[in-house]
């Protein structure tokens, strides 16, 4: 009886370990590789022979990597900001207001995210050029919104529908105009849903490659994924793995930091106690 339970626990622990290894190994490998250079790259081994920071220095000297990171931050922050603003407004309409064609509209929004990115690429290119936004950061922000809005709207709408209708009505009876209701009642209650959604939107924009590669040209508007792809080695034949991995580690760290910061703020059950409990 006890032995069986012990065996069960052991099996569970092993399974957990396997999952953790599977999830973390690629990142560990990147970390190790980023400290290797030259022929050392081709020596297999789980541990680096020496911690050689050369690659990290090289990332910043070979091109204007600081500018690139700044571009990525600007684009991601703007995309998150606009996504959240539009998604909250849309969620209010789609989750709270009864109107004809609401279901069809929801499905269309979801449908947009089903097209592969390549399918919308050429059309989007024409659009961006027509707007005079080619090779600018606003153009990239606009393009990335196409990727983030479907899921931010969808998630927030679902969450908004779950909020008791009486809360909104109580606020109206209490004399609050609609904008105050959104700001003082909906936003605080939507917060637990908005934090993870915004994080996801940030990550999507931060990692976006295809639009950034197509819609920008100059080094001044380059974002991180593009810059990493364009890193060059000592010779034409050499792929600079160490350099690529160093750059990847640098740009992954902010995301890890963000998630760790906000995970404690993702509070659930905030609506408990609103109605009969």
């Amino acid at each position: 009886m006890n032995a069986a339970r012990l065996a069960g626990r052991l099996a569970f622990a092993l399974l957990l370990l396997a999952i953790i290894l599977f999830a973390l190994f690629p990142f560990y490998h990147a970390l190790v590789t980023s400290f290797r250079s030259g022929s050392e790259l081709f020596i297999p081994g789980l541990f680096p022979a020496a911690l050689d920071p050369r690659n990290y220095a090289l990332v910043f000297t070979q091109q204007n990597f600081g500018r690139t990171v700044l571009n990525s931050v600007l684009v991601a922050v703007a995309v998150v900001g606009f996504s959240m603003l539009l998604a909250v407004a849309a969620a209010y309409a789609l989750g709270r207001v009864r109107f004809r064609g609401r279901g069809a509209l929801m499905l269309t929004i979801l449908g947009v995210s089903m097209f592969p990115q390549v399918a919308v690429l050429s059309g989007m290119f024409e659009l961006i050029r027509a707007l005079g936004l080619y090779d600018t950061l606003p153009g990239l922000m606009l393009a990335n919104l196409v990727l983030t809005l479907p899921f931010t709207v969808w998630v927030l709408t679902t969450f908004m529908r779950e909020l008791p209708k009486e809360l909104e009505e109580a606020a109206y009876v209490d004399g609050a105009p609609p904008l105050t209701v959104v700001r003082r009642v909906f936003l605080p209650l939507l917060w637990p849903a908005m934090v993870p959604t915004a994080l996801l939107a940030f990550i999507v924009s931060w990692n976006e490659f295809l639009f950034a590669f197509t819609f920008t040209l100059s080094a001044e508007t380059r974002t991180v994924p593009v810059a990493i792809a364009l890193l060059s080695g000592g010779s034409r034949q050499e792929l600079p793995w160490g350099l690529v991995m160093a750059a990847s580690v640098i740009v992954t760290l902010p995301i890890v930091a963000l998630v760790l910061t906000f995970q404690r703020k993702i509070v659930s059950g905030l609506t408990a106690g609103a109605v009969k409990g």
Binding site: E169, Y172, P177, G273, V275, K276
Partner: protein, 361 residues
């Protein structure tokens, strides 16, 4: 302070009519209770007064002013919801203050008024708590506090006590009655519980399928129900209904033939009945008495319920119907014995086949 008037108010949802041409006047300071079975449109009617639903036809007046098109915040009302609807992310203090902040009251004034309300409702120790840290009764008091702090012209309550347990419900009922006595503000109160309606109301409005069946003082509805529906709905024990036949008129009374063959002359006011007409006789359980002489109704006692201070005897009549009699404790015949009952004619109600009541003197 203000009265409320409804003028031919109609409401339909997706072509389905829920409120049908309701005319109603609620006087300034009156405690008016909407009562009726579940789904009859009580909440909808209250929400029309609040402005949370828009009318499909007719007009709503508050304080003589037409507010049909006005949003809730322009109507001078406060509402207590069945689910309380406290803002879960705000403390009790913030919940109560919210309605004052939206009106941009001064900070010092808000603080003073919140304190005063908290004192009145005994919420002083709870001001910094979140709603989820409160019991059901405390949440209910916060919801009431949130309403009274704004000093509205009209209070609206939608089944405020239905989520509480029985003893707390009685206690809160008394608190609400006291509140009305001291504030003297117009109140509209929705319930499906006729005991709440009888105890609280100055005026009861009985609703059924979107129509007003009868509106009036509790005793008026108890003594003079206008039809079978109101007679069956009002009263803590359901009225007994017996099928009878009119034999004729004599001295302002209708002579009827009771199930089992007894005869009774029921005094009526106004129009009488034709001989041979099939009628329904209504008698409340509390008005039935054990027969001293020849009984009006007799039959085997099926069940006796002992309630301590009183007994409820259920008699099976010769025609198969069941009659409930409320009797003094220790006086009821035992189960299986034959019960003999007397009907005081002055306490009887007579109804025509279409359900309408004969007038009573």
């Amino acid at each position: 302070m203000a009265g409320v008037s409804l003028r031919r108010v109609r409401k339909s949802f997706d072509g389905q009519t829920v409120i049908r041409d309701i005319d109603l006047d609620i006087a300034d300071g009156e405690f008016c209770v909407f009562v009726g079975p579940s789904g009859c449109g009580k909440s909808t009617l209250l929400r029309l007064v609040a402005g949370l639903e828009t009318v499909s036809g007719g007009a709503v007046l508050i304080g003589g002013e037409d507010v049909t098109a006005a949003p809730p915040r322009a109507r001078g009302i406060a509402m207590v919801f069945q689910s309380y609807a406290l803002y879960p992310h705000m403390t009790v203090r913030e919940n109560i203050a919210f309605g004052l902040e939206t009106r941009r009251a001064r900070k010092a004034e808000i603080a003073a008024r919140v304190e005063a309300v908290a004192k009145r409702l005994e919420l002083e120790g709870l001001l910094e708590r979140l709603p989820k840290q409160l019991s059901g009764g405390q949440r209910q008091r916060v919801a009431i506090g949130r309403a009274i702090v704004r000093e509205p012209r009209v209070f609206l309550f939608d089944e405020p006590l239905s989520n509480l347990d029985a003893s707390l419900r009685v206690q809160m009922r008394i608190e609400i009655a006291r509140l009305h006595q001291s504030l003297r503000t117009t109140m509209i109160y929705v319930t499906h519980d006729q005991v709440e309606a009888m105890t609280l109301a100055d005026k009861i409005v009985v609703l059924n399928a979107g129509r007003v069946e009868q509106a009036g003082a509790p005793t008026e509805l108890y003594r003079h129900p206008r039809n079978l529906f109101v007679a069956g709905f009002i009263g803590s024990r359901r009225m007994n209904f017996l099928p009878v036949r009119a034999e004729g008129m004599r001295d302002g009374a209708v002579e009827v033939l009771l199930p089992g063959g007894g005869r009774l002359a029921v005094p009526v006011a106004g129009e009488g009945a034709r001989a041979g007409e099939a009628l329904t006789l209504g008698i409340r359980p509390e008005h039935l008495r054990l027969a001293g002489g020849a009984p009006d109704l007799a039959g085997p006692v099926e069940v006796v319920e002992e309630l301590g201070d009183e007994q409820l005897a259920y008699l099976r009549l010769p025609d198969g119907g069941l009659v409930t009699a409320r009797l003094e404790s220790g006086t009821a015949p035992r189960e299986g014995e034959t019960g003999a009952l007397e009907l005081p004619p002055a306490e009887c109600h007579l109804f025509r086949a279409d359900g309408s009541a004969f007038g009573r003197p």
